[in-house]
Point group: C2
Chain length 475, copies 2
Amino acid sequence: MENKNESITRQEDDFAQWYTDVCKKAELMDYSSVKGFIIYRPYGYAIWEEIQNYLNKQFKKEGVENVYMPLVIPSSLFDKEKEHVEGFAPECLVATKGGKYTLEDELIIRPTSETLFCEHFSKIIKSYRDLPKQYNQWCSVVRWEKTTRPFLRGSEFLWQEGHTMYETEEEARKDALKMLEIYDTLGRDLLAIPFVKGQKTDKEKFSGAQETYSIEALMPDGKALQSGTTHYFGNGFAKAFGIQFLGRNNKLENPHQTSWGVSTRLIGSIIMAHGDDNGLVLPPKIAPIQVVIIPIQQKRSEVLVKAKQYFDLLNKAGIRVKLDDSDHTPGWKYSEYEMKGVPVRLEVGPRDIENGVCVLAKRNDGQKLVTKEADVVDEVNRLLDVIHHELYEKSAKYLYEHITEVHTLDELKLALDKGGYAKMMWCGDQACEDKIKELYQATARCIPFDQLPFDDKCPVCGKKASKVVFFARAY
Amino acid sequence: MENKNESITRQEDDFAQWYTDVCKKAELMDYSSVKGFIIYRPYGYAIWEEIQNYLNKQFKKEGVENVYMPLVIPSSLFDKEKEHVEGFAPECLVATKGGKYTLEDELIIRPTSETLFCEHFSKIIKSYRDLPKQYNQWCSVVRWEKTTRPFLRGSEFLWQEGHTMYETEEEARKDALKMLEIYDTLGRDLLAIPFVKGQKTDKEKFSGAQETYSIEALMPDGKALQSGTTHYFGNGFAKAFGIQFLGRNNKLENPHQTSWGVSTRLIGSIIMAHGDDNGLVLPPKIAPIQVVIIPIQQKRSEVLVKAKQYFDLLNKAGIRVKLDDSDHTPGWKYSEYEMKGVPVRLEVGPRDIENGVCVLAKRNDGQKLVTKEADVVDEVNRLLDVIHHELYEKSAKYLYEHITEVHTLDELKLALDKGGYAKMMWCGDQACEDKIKELYQATARCIPFDQLPFDDKCPVCGKKASKVVFFARAY
């Protein structure tokens, strides 16, 4: 066994090191021998599977169908949309040999699949009757990164990428916003993470998109973490790839496109948003183990029998439960499952059995309560629900306490140094974004949908400003 | 719309062309611009998802955990197990550039992940308490192929690869056989395909394995299709990768390893095993659409209302049902869903409504029956079950009629020309396998578990023979 009982770095001593310690010691991931390509261990991958299950259901309700596109893109195909290739070329992994042969057309390991989807769409879309197409794929993508961190930035990561084509601009715009809403709800209902959401500035948008929208989480170190994006493309790619359909007026038209994605970066969000100095704190709905049962004095046979009965009760009720009857001490087990962020610990020992009760302990705040055996399923379900809401409320409070209205560059600096979002009126000039980045290493995270102007000039250039923008330092 | 109503090539005219026609026109797949890398369209991918759901449940029961390993293998790592690298090197896709840089250690796009799992195991296995490890990953792998066919042989395909480590040889051997049993059951219970199963000869086994087992399906053109394999590795990789654990006797030992996999090749099996001149015939349990409802005279509003009621009834009962109320003719729709192999068609028109009935038609044999509205859920469930068994029985009959005992080379040739398996006594010499391949383009498919010798000499060399082997031409 690894030395999980050894203390991990404390958050306040070194937040980045705390993060890495938790990733490793909670057995979410391991490093491979290629930098930036991590191993998703069972405990980490199971979290991703919960996210997949949730999103597959939501996507299906919207009429989205899953597909699988090739892993490789011929460089000649990749070059078709100019802005797109310029954005991605510097971070591509390129295959040049197949078997014994040198490839004539080099193959790019997909960094994203717009070009592949567009080529396919150009073959299968002929008439307005073939629209909409709402496709999604679950896969890994590769972006050759110099600086990598588990889940947050990797040369390979897992994601879903949705790609759609619509008859009208209106439908496509609606789709980009609808999917953003689904991501936002995923945060609220599943991950217990509140997001700030809005539109990206032109400087920050996706290569080739007309508009990009994002959800942004705020981490305890005050930095924003972009956690999902949706894009409206107009018909630029459609034109570049010759995608045309015979419209209702019997004229050839180009369809309107969107794409949208979330990735295993969400696991990074979860770790940072909820974790503490004892390790992970998992929101109950995505916890691979929701309840761990720890028998006290388990050498006494009635204890193990009773522990097994609790296991069966909870398991039958559809709760993800684990009974740890290994020969480690109860103390070792407490630390182990605290590190792994299991939401509820159920302890049962000889005296509890005499009294017909067990003890339930909440991982997020250490509170304990005694419950009767007959009530345990209801009580656990109630606690899982309570924990979800407590985690969400705590994160939401932190978020709202770290949104600061700023009117001057000095205030901007103070707000950024405090951590979180500086809410600023912006003139719309990219030069002012560049300046803020140069001065304070902060970027425009998004232009929120709720636009309530609170000033009339841009703190950077002093010109007229009409847009509210959230600036922050970011991952 | 594509021209799905156009007739496809007939099986007896050109079986290979029939197969390709069905793949395309049933919208299971499409070609991409890179040879051998296909697009899994929604209808094809949904079949794969049904297989995934089934296997994930079976794997979980056995204690298997899902993980995700890197897409790339450094060539230095790949080289560690000699037989393995020799087997795979000729078909590797190799990346040599990352971003602007030439890679020092070339990266092989995974053709299979034994080496990655072994490297990981060497880090996380320390004691017998860490065993067993039973891991599985769902991913795509790349093998650079010259001759490719949709689902059957591709440069990229989807699969699951299980990788395990056990404390004892006995446990590992048991695992390899257990997983073969699960694959066999998948064929019987889900795909309605009977397999021949057994052990591979040394010539045909997996590069680096001590023993390989396989399930083999028999296609209507008389050729065998290897549909899944499991491997027992002994501790050869473990030694090569330095995987050691402290055993119960306090001595360092090497664990015993298996791996096992099935791929999207199973979709090829399904297409060929059950399809006919009208297209796909899908076994009900993996059919993305189990029942299609086709309204007759749908312009009459009571017809669409009733069709919708049938949809709701079946949908609520958990049956995968589609109502096609598009403006195509009923005749067009019949052809369309025959092509797509939907097991049951439900027709409802004005006269049926008057009589309180609908018509159910079976895709596999065209039989129709009239059922009362109140009975429709039961009747559909019964039919789905009947169809599954009819498909299985038909395939099983074909299989058993195409296993021929042979005693001489002439009989071997006749059996192979008839199609199917030649059941032959074999001396055990690879030279005789080579000879059969040279003469008749047939290979040893497997050494079946039921060994009932029916002769005592090898028809090739005349020497003493004690092993029953199935030879066949194969995909």
